[in-house]
Symmetry: C2
Subunit: 641 residues, 2 copies
């Protein structure tokens, strides 16, 4: 391709809209153009990169026996209602574009395709003899992100490969899952990327096990914890570890102490000269379920530990059924406005005890009377609140705008494993400026009946598989995610097969996604310098760029044209910068767009040589004219292995 024929425009300045290097560079180098918030046009250079990534993905998928198809982007709401995810995706996470069509039927733009593929499987799969089967597609997906950012990293429209496999049983699913683990590793390796597979949270997709493939980069939105021995790596959202041992408590008897200005664990442990490991921290959350039910959740956890809100969210989703709800709409730390709706007086933040309900949370129903959930000991007890009918209403009743009273929430106490075995611990008193010391479960406070693991693993923790290993931390960009879904969707949507023994069984299912457009930008995030992008050869839009320093020089142009023809003939993808621009501009542009090899038809021509510069290293060498094509072919083939 001749640059003179391309719509090729580079920018000298960083665009104001971009925050991270890869986003800036893709905009500056003319790969992408912003059309709206989180919406980009892929210009011809970018499209070539995306096609190369797609082709690598396709080859790796086909090699496993998966078959390519294309599913619709418009999805009828009925399918999502069958699976039970309509509310989660349109309300709770709210990331699905949904709207009525001209017949006033709700449709959505697919962010993922479990529902569509399951309905196809339900129609087409009858017998175990048709299994396993694996379909995938490479397609533009949509997410109405709250905060689209970082260009293609978190756009509202992006390209994904998503695949779905169906199986007779878990063993067959696990085999395909392993194949995908390998295929995904191959894809990322073949795209020239440094990456790490990590244990992951399955989120709204669901299922039992999942692995994320993280492209390592400083700008990554995810934190990965791993051990040096290579035996463990996990997204911090999912990571587990051994907490440090608790120190013995210096307090031997129960006592209320004045502890002024100690709302934080640090200030409190300093004031009391005790270890944070001897404090029980009580963190209050407000959960709202899809039936309108508000649940105040008080989590007691050891003072030196933090709550992992993804784990907490998962625990609360598990409890949805107990609240007659299907899904959790939101989980927040209640701010002052939220507190007004149910707090009988201002909360003693920083001084909360393991049970706050009786002291601070409205138990007097406003008019009309509403049934209050929970008991004094703070257990989950929707079944004793006066009936399932009343409960959902308590969250949706009109609020008392006067501030005090109104919503009567349910109250739920949870204890993290780290806080269960503490003795003579320090904790809040429900009174500002005061804590208690020497407290014990079963004495001053009831141990919450629900014990959970919602602790956030962190750098420096000991690994569970080998306590002599400590967790390290790295930043990553999630490029792929593979899931063992099990029978979640097939059961919800009635997708079954007839087994060899004639039984009707639910299909086992896996799903596997890789972000093609995100991966392409992540490659830049992992590989650039002050002058621009450094594409891995495998996914570079072109392998070679020929820069003609002076297009008015007949000899230079003739050499360039001859070389251009020869390189094209040899299957080397080549750009010819035949623009009427200064050599300096051309070199700057070549560096910026990041083509792996630059050939200059300049001074060395008189010695029968061409200057070849490697973009990554900036190393330059003069190569005899008749050796240039074969040398480049060797280099490129070596890189593509």
């Amino acid at each position: 391709m001749r640059l003179s024929n391309m719509l090729f425009v580079t920018l000298r300045e960083d665009p104001a809209e971009a925050e991270i290097p890869s986003h800036k560079l893709l905009l500056r180098a003319g790969y992408i153009r912003r059309i709206g918030s989180g919406i980009y046009a892929y210009l011809p250079l970018m499209w070539r990169v995306l096609q190369k990534v797609s082709q690598i993905v396709r080859e790796e998928m086909n090699a496993t026996g998966a078959q390519e198809c294309l599913l619709p982007q418009l999805q009828p709401s009925e399918l999502w209602k069958e699976s039970g995810r309509w509310d989660t995706y349109t309300k709770a996470e709210g990331i699905m574009f949904a709207f009525p069509d001209r017949q006033e039927r709700e449709v959505a733009l697919g962010p993922t395709h479990e529902e569509v593929i399951t309905t196809i499987a339900r129609d087409m799969i009858r017998s175990y003899r048709q299994l396993p089967v694996h379909l995938y597609q490479i397609q533009t997906k949509f997410r109405d992100e709250i905060r689209p950012r970082f260009g293609l990293m978190r756009g509202r429209e992006f390209i994904m490969k998503d695949g779905y496999s169906f199986h007779t049983d878990e063993e067959s699913l696990k085999k395909t899952y392993q194949d995908m683990y390998q295929a995904y590793s191959n894809m990322l390796r073949r795209s020239g990327l440094k990456f790490r597979p990590v244990e992951a949270d399955s989120g709204a997709i669901g299922g039992s096990g999942s692995t994320e493939f993280m492209i390592l980069a400083e700008a990554g939105e995810d934190e990965v914890l791993y051990t040096e021995d290579g035996q463990y790596s996990a997204n911090v959202e999912k990571a587990v570890s051994l907490p440090p041992d608790a120190e013995p408590s210096p307090f031997t008897s129960y006592e209320k102490r004045e502890t002024p200005n100690t709302p934080t664990i640090d200030s409190l442990s300093e004031f009391l000269k005790c270890s944070p490991t001897q404090i029980v921290k009580n963190v209050l959350y407000q959960a709202i379920y899809d039936n309108g039910m508000t649940v105040l959740v008080l989590v007691s956890i050891r003072g030196d530990q933090d709550v992992n809100e993804v784990k907490l969210n998962n625990e609360l989703v598990k409890l949805a059924e107990q609240y007659n709800a299907k899904t959790l709409l939101s989980l927040t730390v209640p701010d002052a406005t939220a507190q007004q709706k149910w707090a009988s007086k201002p909360l003693p933040l920083g001084y909360i005890a393991p049970d706050i309900a009786d002291d601070y949370i409205n138990s007097t129903p406003p008019n009309p009377p509403l049934v209050r959930g929970g008991t004094g000991s703070g257990e989950v007890a929707p079944s004793v609140t006066g009936g399932t009918e009343a409960s959902p209403q308590s969250g949706t009743s009109p609020l008392d705008k006067g501030g005090q009273g109104g919503v009567i929430p349910q109250f739920l106490r949870l204890v993290d494993k780290t806080a269960v075995d503490l003795k003579n611990f320090v904790t809040g008193s429900n009174e500002s400026g005061y804590h208690v010391v020497g407290a014990n479960w079963g004495e001053q406070f009831q141990l919450p009946k629900i014990e959970v693991d919602v602790r956030k693993a962190k750098i420096g923790d000991r690994a569970i598989h080998n306590p002599s290993q400590t967790l390290q931390s790295a930043r990553g960009i999630e490029a792929g995610h593979i899931f063992q879904l099990g029978t979640k969707y097939s059961k919800a949507m009635g997708a079954t097969y007839t087994s060899e023994s004639g039984e009707e069984c639910p299909l086992y299912m896996g799903c596997y996604g890789v972000g093609v457009s995100r991966l392409a930008q992540a490659a830049v995030e992992q590989s650039y310098d002050k002058d621009g992008i450094i594409w891995p050869v495998m996914i570079a839009p072109y392998h070679v760029i020929i820069c003609v320093p002076n297009v008015g020089d007949i000899e230079q142009m003739a050499a360039a044209e001859k070389l251009y023809a020869e390189l094209n003939k040899a299957g080397i993808e080549t750009l010819l910068d035949d623009r009427n621009e200064r050599a300096g501009v051309k070199f700057k542009d070549a560096d910026l767009i990041g083509i792996p090899y630059r050939i200059v038809t300049g001074r060395s021509l008189k010695d029968g040589k061409l200057e070849v510069v490697e973009r990554a290293t900036k190393k330059s060498q003069d190569i005899p004219l008749d050796k240039v094509v074969s040398t480049l072919k060797d280099w490129i083939n070596a890189a593509l292995q």
Copy 2:
């Protein structure tokens, strides 16, 4: 690919949802699956066909120097408001999905991309030195069709190649347009299709000239008129021709005649013993503009001719400005309910005179008084109706639900060229059961001031380029459409370049679309028999299918496996039907899915031969084992030329 590993399910019965053969066959043969109204999943066999069509399109586009890119499917409403098409696409035609995002900003799903590409061109093109440039994409498009039907032919989601070229001037645009004409012809020829390029109406896309590429098939939604000499072909919507000569009128003096039961031209000409060519037919339409203005349009046309509503629509769009409107929302023949809003008494349908306004259309404004447009002679006269402010309101004022009176519409008379020169003609009298004869323009009736060509050309008409040629008719499926847009979008959106002489000029623009998924189905519509699909070799999902009559027969399976490996090695795309099914089922399925060549590893094996059956002709021949691969390779290569 082994059929045993594919999600391969065929249906014996025609699905109820399908009306035309290609739709039935694609469903039955497991190529597509309906997910919702006008929404289909492309299963692996279909996806291979679509990929092949796409690749042919891509190669032909790249050969012209066009560059592939990918533009967003989500489009901000602002762009469409800039071009002035937001209302046309969301209201008038209403075919664009549009909805608010989570920030309550209107976005739409692109049915076409003139706005997006023009905004990119506006940003990136500065100088004549960057021109011409041509970008294209292959992408799923969306249309919220009123009546989705015929499978992929008129779906709500479909795959298009759309390209957009930018130029300094009309000459450069015309050159690319010609290149596209050739490229489109190549694409269709290389896809193995019988087609015809035809002159076309440009519709809501706009611009000066356009050509449609029609795939000829009985089930086509479009009618094509053409001449045998190959010099003329046009969509009936656009076609022009010479009308038959009018016969001399038998009437010499003006007279009102009782003509009972003659509401049609046929009954009237029979009753009066005159030729339809001596009758002036007056057809009443109701046009509603986007500002709410209702215009009653009375078209006078020669009795033997019909009104082409696409041409009439175009004429009325041109008049929008005169009604202070931007676009036409609807054009209908007013039914009884519509008539009630403005008719002062029941219309004498079938007996309407060239002016009906004074007799039948309310001129007494209801309370509050509204200004009535038009005069007794029925001219377009919005400028004398009492001000532009009042006019739009006349169409949107609350209706008098009593039936009589309410909306006071504008009234507009148009005369088709065929009716202008008639003398002593027959026409309506505005009284049921009566016509007038021997009428003349300028005597009993004013000739409408606006003369138009809204006549429908039809089979048997003489061609304009050569009156000895008569128009023939054929049905076609519109697979492609190329447009010379000129400066319509660049002027509306301010997309300019600096010319060689330093002037700021609007970009000239062309756009070129081909329906990839529609083309694929049209190929089936053009090529099938009672047993199933007959794919052209060029776009068949596989070239060869090997049917093993008995998979339990070791010799048969061994021969099949050997052949399968050899064919794959030779680059021949092969399906292996290794399912444990009866031979009859396999042969039926092979015919149904339409693979060009079927090889049977059956009885002929004992003679060292394989039976090869050509799908299209059903011709069978036994070919020696060692000649099968080379013979097939020759046949396939010959077909792909």
